[in-house]
Structures are given as structure tokens and as C-alpha cells.
Amino acid sequence: MNPVNYVYLAALLFTIGAAGVLIRRNAIVVFMCVELMLNACNLAFVTFARMHGGLDGQIVAFFTMVVAAAEVVVGLAIIVSVFRTRHSASVDDANLMKL
């Protein structure tokens, strides 16, 4: 098997995640889909690291994880506080920016 299949898999997961972001309305699920996309990218990075024979790809994936963790923390905090005020976790309900 050619390890490039990992990249195909990553592309597939990324696409599914992206579609999920567009389709789902529950902010938490949207967030999960974003995480899915990030994970797909990580997989691609790891595969590329293997392809190039260096660890830099893994480092990038590592940083991605760190940043994702930070993002999750803040993002979920936002969701919680939005939920508190609006009693809804739907992204469609947070539409105060609408004209």
C-alpha cells in the first residue's frame, strides 16, 4: 500500500468536517466538525513528515493540537456564555449581526 492513502483519508475527513460545519446548527457539533478538520490536517502533516523523513511535520501537527486546545477552551466558553444569555446553542440563533 502506498502511504499516500493517508493523505486521501485526510482529505476525505477534512471534507466531511467542512460539510458538517456548514450543515449542523448546534454550535457544539459545529465545533466538533472543526476539530475533525484540524485532525485531518494533522494526519496529513504526520504523513508528510514521514514522506520527507523529518520531524518538522510532526512539530507542526503538535502546534496545531496546542492551538486547537486553546481554541476549544475559548470557543466552548463562548458557547456556554451564549447559551446562558440566549438559552440556545444553535448558531442560527446568534444572528444579531443581521441587518
Binding site: A18, L22, I23, V91, N95, M97, K98, L99
Partner: protein, 634 residues
Amino acid sequence: MNSLLGLLIAAPLLGAAVLLLGGRFVDRVAPVLGSALAGLSFVLGAILFSNLLGKPASGRAIDSDLFTWMHVGTFKADAAFHLDQLSMTFVLLITGVGTLIHIYSIGYMAHDEKRRKFFGYLNLFLAAMLILVLADNYLLLYVGWEGVGLASYLLIGFWQHKPSAATAAKKAFLVNRVGDIGLAVAVFLMFTTFGTFTFQGILHPSVVSSAGQGKATALGLVLLLAACGKSAQVPLQSWLGDAMEGPTPVSALIHAATMVTAGVYLITRSSAIFNAAPTAQLAVVCVGAVTLLFGAIVGCAKDDIKKALAGSTMSQIGYMILAAGLGPIGYVFAIMHLVTHGFFKAGLFLGAGSIMHAREDEVDMRKYGGLWKKMPWTFATFGLGYLAIIGFPGLSGFFSKDKIIEAAFAKGGTEGWILGGAALLGAAITAYYMSRIMVMTFFGKPRYTTKAEGGTSPEAHESPAVMVAPMVVLAVGSVFAGGFFSLGSRFLHWLEPVTGHSEGHSPVSTGVLTAATIVLMLLGMGLAWFQYGMREVPAAAPRSIWPVRLARRDLGQDDFNHAVFVRGGTRFADGLAEFDAKGVDGAVRGVAGAVGGGSSRLRKLQNGYVRSYAFSMFGGAVLIVAATLFMRAV
């Protein structure tokens, strides 16, 4: 001597500065200080004059280079002065008459609370006029040219609280500005053609002819435009009548004796250019001839004594311009008439001022009459000026005007006959309108009722000595100047080195011409006496036939200007303002509106749903990936 030249100008300039900036502190000394500085400048002029007389006739010139004014590349404009016979003549006239009028004003303006400013402006005028005639290049001349325009503006509008005065001042300045265009273009043309604009550089027959007749004609025409503006010649004559809104000493000094003759100075000074451009000369004589008749006709119809005199001034300057346009035959006589005119017209205006002073600024001659008994000094001096201007034999006007008529005939051919005829006719009309003024003012019964008699007018009285004295001096000048100048062709020899002179040969003999002039003059006087002396002058102007009405309305000059320039210009400007708001700015606002409309449609994409935005991002990403792949594939 060189430094005296600077001092000559500096004296009145200093006076202007002190009087205008000094504030209330100099209020009390203002009349004396202003007059003293004018007198000082006259004394300096006299010293310079004696110095010039001491030099040989060909080398009578004093130069004074003060500093470099502007210097860019090959362009160099100096603040430099050049005194020769021509400018000397003007210096003496300006400072002499100027001093007299300063003195007169001490009396005339005694009760005006702003007299400090008045004397300041008068001094400013003297300085500017001196710069005008002493400049050694056309640019500095331009400075003086506009400077006298400014002084004229300030003095015409001296009684600013009168809207008519403010309007007249503005009009004078604007019409003069139109003429200034000519002078400015002349300077540009000189520089691009000759690379210089100094008198010494350009005013030389070989230099002017090197540029060709076309350039010379162009120069002559633009200079004529300038002269028309300043000297109130047709078609830029309309401001002079209104300029009579200014105090009468101003009318005497600026709008009779000195400033309005600057055009004559300009043409005479530029004789080398005009000599090389017959077409331009023809234009000059046409302007002169037309104006001399125009002014004379207007002068016949006016009941306002100052406006009648203004018409006369216009006419007399027409004579001068005519003479100057005749070329070397006429330059000297143009200047001679200018000087004699300076005396008698200033005298006449001062006389008019004296009458107005006595009659509380009443200017309507129909409300005068029989003043000779009450104002003997004024009557005497005014009468002498009157005799001088109509060319009564032996008085100044006779000598100078007669020469001009002769020179006009000497032009030769049809042209000569037409010009000479016009000049002769002008002499007759001059006699008529001046006699009219004289008769209506001094003779007949008084057409007013004094307060003592239960009327509104004050009792007429003779003016104080400080006003009478200058009038007497000017009357003496009016009587004797012409004879003095003509005796042994003194004036001719004095000026010839500058202007050149050639004797013309008139197709009519001198004796016949003189006789004809005298006869015409007597005819004019007789007609006036018949019309105004023999019968009662109505207190209000009677309805008359249309030529008289037209003449009363300044031959329609203001109507024309108003219809074409004022109303047309206003309409054009309003249209342009509309265009600016709707057209230029409208185009901009149209674009803004289109953008606004477009974005209010596009705004609907902003539906506030985050998923929709995310979709846009994702769609964009898809497009970018597709484009990248496509580009790589291609």
C-alpha cells in the same frame, strides 16, 4: 542724486505708512504731515530737475538700481529707477499738483473724521504714481500701475458707507484690471521675445524692428489695452464717471491731473514700439478720436458738475491719446497738453469742490446759479481754467490743443482730415459744454433757496484760504503754462531727446486752422450762452430728444456693460455654480449613489447566519483550489 531718486518715492511712502499704521496717535498731525511729505517730494523733484538741467541735453538721465526684485534663471527683474526728461515732467506735475491738492484737502477734509486715512491714501497714491513714472522697466511700471489703481480704489470708495461709492470703487478697480491684463501680457511678450523688459533694453528702434512688425503690433495693441483701462478710453471708459463718487480733491488729482494720464505716459514711453507698428498706431488714434468725441458728448448732457468735468477729462485725454498715436509728430504735444490739462482741469475740479464745499455737497448744476457774486475767488480761478480748457487764445489750452489739431491734420490723407475734423469738432463741443457749466453755475439767478429764505440750502460762501490758495496757483498755471512751454519751443527741446520729434506738414495752413478753432470755439460758447444764459434753466432736467437722453445715460455704456457683462456674467456664473453642484459634484455623488445602491443589494448576502458566511468561505476555498489546480494543469 541717485539716492535722491529713492528718497523722492520714499517720502510719500513713509507718509502713507505712518498715517495708515499710526492709528489715532497721528490723527491730529495727519493733514500737515501728509502735505509736508508731498511737498518734500516736490522739493526733491525740483532739485533733481535743476540737476538734470545742468546736464547736456543728450545725457539728461539719472539711474538708480535699488535691489534685485526677482531673479530666476535668465529672468531678472530689478527694482530700478530711471529719471529722464519725460519722467521728470511727470514727477514735477505729480508732486506739484499733488502738493497743492494736499494743501487744498486740509481745508476740504477738515471736518471728516477719517482724514488721517485720506492723507495716507493720497500719499500712497503719490508714491505709486512716482513708481509708475520712474520705473526703468515695464514690470516695475506695472507695480506702480496697479498701485495707483489701488489708491484710486481706496479714494473713490473713501466714503465707504455710501453704497454708490463702494460700487464705483469696485468698478474702477475691475475695469482697470481688464486693462492690466494688457500690460501683463505685454511684459510676458517682451520677455519671451527680447529676453528683457527694461526700457533701455527694448525701447530702441532696431531692437523692436528685429522682432518684426507682427510682434510690434501685438505689443502695441496690448499696451493700448492697458492705456485704455487706466486712461478711461473707449471701450474701458465707463468707470471714470462713477469715480466722481470720491472726494473732490481725489477727482482733481487722480481722475483729472495725474493717474488717468498714465496711459498717455505709457504710449509715449513706448514710442519705439508704436513707431514700428503702424497698425497699432492707427488703433491708438481711433481710440483717441472716438473717446474725445464720446467724452465731450457725455460732458454736454450731464447736470452733475463733477460728471460733466469727468466727461471733459475723458475727452481731453482722448486728445492726448490721439496725439500720442500720431507718432513723433504728436508725442511732445500729447505730453504738453497733459501738463497744461493737469493745471486747468485740477483747477476746475478744485473749483467744483469749492462750490460743493459751500453748498453742502450739492452737485446738481441746475441747483446752482449766480454764484459769481458769492464766491469771487472760486469764480475767478474757475473762469481762468474754463478759458484755458476751451482754448481761449493766449491761455494754456490754446497752445497745447491747437498743436494737437495741427498734428492731426498733418497726418495727411483722408485719415488726417477725419482725425483733424474730429479734433476740431471736439474743440467746438468742449467750448459748448464748458460754457454750459460756467453759465449754469455762476451766472443767472440763484436756483435755490437758502435757509435764511426758508429753503433747505445753506448760504453759499467763499472757501477758506487754504483751499483758495492752491486754486490760485493752478489758475496761474492754466494761464501761463502753455505760453511758457511754447515760447521758443522750450518744451519740445526738453522732451525731444526722449520721444523724438518730427515736424508734420499740415495740408491746411496753421493760420487757417487757428482761425477755424477760434471760430468753432466761439460758436460753441455762443450756443451755450443762447441755451442757458438767455433763458431760465429749469430746475429739473426737461424731457429731451433721444440723443440727449442717450448722452445723459453716458451713451449707453453702462447699459451695455450691465446687459452683457454684469447680467450675462451673473447668469453664466450662476449656471456654472449649478453645474458645479449638479454636474461635477453630481457625477461624484452619482457614483456614490450607484455604489450605495449596489451594496444595498449585495447587503442581502449578509444575512447574519454564520453558516452562510462559512459557506462563502468554503466556496471561496473551493474556487481557489480549483483555480490553482487549473493553473497547474495548464
